[in-house]
Amino acid sequence: MSAFRLQQLKGQLIPETKIPTMAGSPSPLTTHVLNTAMGVPGSNMTIRLYQQDLSTNVWTLITTGTTNDDGRCPGLITKQQFKPAVYKMHFETAQYWERMGETSFYPYVEIVFTITNPDQKYHIPLLVSRFSYSTYRGS
């Protein structure tokens, strides 16, 4: 395939950050996994997003996804699903390290957070190594 043809095809691809969710708009909740031990995106990590029922406290699975080459996972939730509630993002960190032949102190990482204003955008990154992790609320 010629370089010119490749350039044409590239121009027709939608950037991953703009891929819409089922409802037609980007997810109001995003994440980004960074492997701080190696200085690379945390790609191919399985992530699950849960929403807690306000009255029963039962967790409901909203989405299961896998981070892409950039360590991101678009389409976590639709605007319609994203209501005020407590959410939990579960990262399969040990599985990620095992695939690279390494052990990890953390079998998984769960970040529990409260959404009071679903009209805002929320970015929940995870910076992870085998023996440490950090997160913050971004937008």
């Binding site: 990890s104 102190f105 079998p107 769960e110 970040i111 440490s132 992790y133 950090s134």
Partner: protein, 118 residues
């Protein structure tokens, strides 16, 4: 009474918002029953004025397995008249080698936190 030196597991909470120890924070230690796949509470504690909490488990009880330290961060910030993005923080970790001691600090603000194994 278990001393800091004899406790195989300890933690230290630091309030990075205000640059002070995370004092008087309630926390609990849990162990996963690997057969039943349910969490069992081992102990509860509260950080002291330095943000430290020792004596969560004895050397004899500290067997290999999966553990969870739960920090009541939401309650902590409420006691300071503040809200927090995180209602609580749970750090789940695996213990394989008992000859070592484990120190799991939590550095936290209202909108971020980090932890590491030392």
């Amino acid at each position: 009474m278990m001393t800091a030196e004899s406790s195989p597991l300890s933690t230290h909470v630091y309030n990075t918002c205000d640059g002070v120890p995370g004092a008087k924070m309630d926390l609990s230690l849990h162990r996963l029953d690997s057969k039943l796949m349910i969490w069992t509470m081992i102990s509860i504690g509260t950080t002291n004025e330095k943000g430290c909490c020792h004596g969560l488990i004895s050397q004899e009880a500290f067997t290999p397995g999966m553990y969870k330290l739960r920090f009541e961060t939401g309650s902590y910030w409420e006691s300071l008249g503040q809200t927090s993005f995180y209602p609580y923080v749970e750090v789940v970790f695996t213990v394989r080698e008992l000859s070592q001691r484990f120190h799991l600090p939590l550095l936290m603000s209202r909108f971020s936190y980090s932890t590491y194994r030392s």
